[in-house]
Amino acid sequence: MDRDERFEAEALPHLRSLYGTAYRMTRNAHDAEDLVQETFLRAYRAFDRYAAGTNIRAWLYTILQRVRTDAFRRAARSPSTVELSGEGPAVPAPQEALARGGEDIERALLALPEAFRTAVVLRDVEDFSYEEIARILSVPIGTVMSRIHRGRALLRQALAGSRP
């Protein structure tokens, strides 16, 4: 199997879940697509350095996070770019979530500050372990636990009154 076939078989099947996380990071489809495109492009270029048989999903998420961080740096340098982090008002929830009645929790999740939101998404939606999240975000495990805790506490506040 040549390099392209391996990439197709091993990396591309994660596109859907990467897109889901990218969407919840950026909170809009356009930026999420850019993020995913760039992530796969970098992954493709670095694919020779990826050790076959290791955790490709975590590797791809690490690249996703790096691309996201780079985008922030660029945004910080360019004054005309809208700030992407922080509280976002009236974020439209994905249609599927609306259909399944998940509107309130999806909304609350998207309204979290990005650092907490990403930690909660990686843990509770994507089911990564603390060790994997620590590698993906390049932070100590204690920070992972603290961000998840803070994220869940904020979600609880936001959802107060509705069922847990």
Partner: protein, 244 residues
């Protein structure tokens, strides 16, 4: 142990070592607030795991694949077609009358702009100049010694972009005129008149050869056109007379 809510989170996620886990369990037994937190986080986690996936546009996978293909270098994608286009244009254009006329006008200005004419042969005798060209393999048509007040001064070979032409210098009364023997093919119906670079350029065929006339005034060019034709006719007549 007092309340350490972050450890409750780690406990829910099974991320604590054995000792911490035991300590948290012991604490939970006696702390309703922390039990509530743990229960809430477990339920919340269930809800988050059950969130519907956010689906990408169906076309995204294909676009990502396309983005991975090594891009053709700019040189191949853009410059090569441009170069090919220019090459075709050049090959097609070099035999075109306007292109040749423009080149002759440029060469005329180039030679006459020099302080001293760059002639390789100096002579006012058409026979001498014709013989000089003949020795180097160029057959001139019959050229006049003078026309319209301009007289033969000298001649040389001049390089155009794609060919070498015989260049005869005529001058007089502060005006200049060039007669060119143009080898190779030039596409024009019977004759061609153009005014590139503020010069009058006439292309015509004399004795089956392409001749270019470049002057500063239409009258001068017309005078040479008549002279070339007349000289040819006179020589033809003389040749016919000599046979009898």
């Amino acid at each position: 142990m007092s309340c350490v809510p972050e450890l409750g989170t780690g406990y829910v996620d099974g991320a604590l070592d054995e000792a911490s886990r035991a300590a948290v369990e012991a604490h939970l037994a006696g702390c309703a607030a922390c039990r509530d937190q743990v229960a809430y986080e477990r339920a919340l986690r269930q809800r988050l795991r059950a969130l519907a996936p956010v689906e990408p546009r169906p076309a995204l996978a294909a676009e990502v694949r396309k983005g991975l293909r090594p891009r053709t270098p700019l040189a191949v994608r853009v410059l090569l077609p441009i170069a090919a286009g220019l090459a075709v244009l050049f090959l097609w254009g070099r035999g075109a009358a306007p292109f040749v006329a423009w080149e002759l006008a440029r060469d005329h200005d180039h030679c006459f702009a020099k302080p001293v004419l760059p002639a390789q042969v100096w002579s006012d005798d058409p026979a001498h100049v014709t013989a000089w060209f003949a020795r180097q393999g160029t057959q001139l048509p019959a050229v006049p010694a003078a026309a319209g007040g301009l007289e033969l001064v000298g001649a040389r070979y001049c390089p155009l972009i794609d060919r070498k032409v015989g260049h005869l210098y005529y001058a007089g009364r502060g005006r200049h005129l060039s007669v060119y023997a143009v080898p190779g093919s030039v596409r024009f119906p019977r004759e061609f008149l153009d005014r590139p670079r503020a010069r009058v350029v006439r292309l015509l065929r004399v004795e089956g050869r392409t001749v270019g006339l470049v002057g500063e005034r239409p009258e001068d060019v017309a005078a040479f056109e008549r002279a070339l034709t007349a000289t040819y006719a006179r020589l033809t007549l003389e040749a016919a007379g000599a046979e009898h």
